[in-house]
């Protein structure tokens, strides 16, 4: 079953054409990495999938809904099934971690026990801390914990591991892959870390010059002669 279906997507900001005919599909349970150089349109693409950015042309179907034709309340209904981790992650700075979790539990009308989430994400030492006072890594972990409050069908992560040390990256990825295996949820993410793509993603989409220059499985890319995804990226993308 396709969770996301994108055909001939076009988006520009004034005269700056960012996406000029992008095609993309994500099936249930897939982990897909979106790569490309800075300014390639990765975040724009994700924000369109998140239903918070309009586009100029093409078709975008998310969870069986053509998002162009949806009313505000219908969009809110689609968003109930999507969770996101943004870069940079920001929440109300004057709320403590536990309070944020409780507030978002209310937003998602979640039945998940906050104590369980705190335990699962090892947040006990931080639950009384203000979100603003956490390190970048813990902010990302809290953001992911909030994203999982809803047991989303689609998880969208915009550069989730940027700025994290290797341990924090590992912890974050263990949660993501565990969620993916446990719930069969689909994960779409952007990253500049090609090792992560190689280790964790089923498919890779390379956005170059506004189109999906390559959209294939990680395995196929590696068997086509590249030693690593990093080598593939350096070969395909010029400065």
């Amino acid at each position: 079953m396709n969770i996301v279906n994108v055909n001939n997507l076009k988006k520009s900001y004034g005269t700056n054409i960012v996406l000029q005919g992008l095609n993309f599909q994500a099936r249930e349970g897939e982990v897909i990495g979106v790569i490309g150089k800075n300014g390639a349109g990765k975040s724009t693409f994700l924000e369109i999938l998140m239903t918070i950015k309009q586009y100029d042309a093409g078709t975008v179907v998310v969870l069986d809904e053509n998002i162009k034709s949806l009313s505000t309340s219908q969009l809110e209904s689609v968003r109930k099934q999507i969770s996101v981790v943004l870069q940079p992650t920001q929440f109300y700075k004057n709320l403590k971690v536990e309070e944020l979790l409780k507030l978002f539990k209310g937003y998602y009308k979640s039945t998940i026990d906050i104590k369980q989430i705190i335990s699962d994400f090892k947040l006990e030492p931080h639950r009384k801390k203000y979100f603003d006072k956490l390190s970048g890594g813990w902010k990302q972990i809290v953001s992911l914990a909030i994203a999982f409050l809803s047991e989303p069908k689609l998880l969208i992560l915009d550069e989730p591991t940027t700025g994290l040390d290797p341990h924090m990256r590992n912890i974050l990825w263990s949660y993501i892959t565990d969620y993916n295996k446990r719930t069969g949820g689909t994960v779409i993410l952007t990253t500049h870390n090609m090792d992560e793509i190689e280790l964790y993603c089923d498919k890779v989409m390379l956005i170059n010059n506004g189109v999906n220059e390559i959209f294939d499985t990680t395995e196929n890319i590696l068997t086509s002669g590249y030693k690593s995804i990093n080598e593939f990226y350096l070969t395909k993308v010029s400065i």
């Binding site: 943004l86 920001q90 009308k109 809803s150």
Partner: protein
Amino acid sequence: MLATQLKYDLLMFSREIFYLVFTIFVPPATYIFMGQLFGDQTYAGNLSYVQTYTPSYILLITFTVVFFAFGFDQVTHRTTGVEKRIHLSPVSKNTLLLSSIIRSVIITSLGYFIISLIGLLMYDLQFQLLQTIASYCFFILLNAVLLIIASAIYSFFKNMNSALVFSIVIFQVVIFTGGFAMPISMMPKFIQVIADLNPMYHMNILFIAVWNGQLTFTTSTLISIGYIGALVIVSGIILRFQNKRKIG
């Protein structure tokens, strides 16, 4: 959901020292201080200090709450990315807006009662039931007007620092040209011209009149009402335009 959002909105407000100082402490302290200096004076309409400045300082608290805790907060959330993250959650905009409005009404009502209590204890403030009810209803209406105008003004800010500088400057302008420091008639001519353009000055005049049961529909009253009404309409148009631009 509304109750949960409101609970956390009030909690966040109580933790923001900057807002608390400018909203809950500065206006009452100024009210007491000015009363000690000019408590025996008689003002326009043959009103005493307490009759003139009690509604004025209630309005000043309303202004600071709405402009700092509502308007400036919007800019903070927009520029730091909080607004975007909340927008991605399945919480309706109406719930967030309603919670912000109720929060403002609760905090400004608290200001209303603090100033009234100080007036009662220190300056022999008199209450009449009907007038008090009319004043409170008018105060709620002014709350709504200020919320709309503040939302429209702060929708232009994309940067927190410029919004902060604007807030502090506008606070000073409102104090001096809104009739909160001393009567505008005693001010230099150019201040009087600025006062005529300051909606807070018009709201202040109207609120003092309602508070003291002196509201009559003279030409100047109608000009004040018309001016405020026009600003509300313009603000509504701005907000509609800005909301369309947000989803780009």
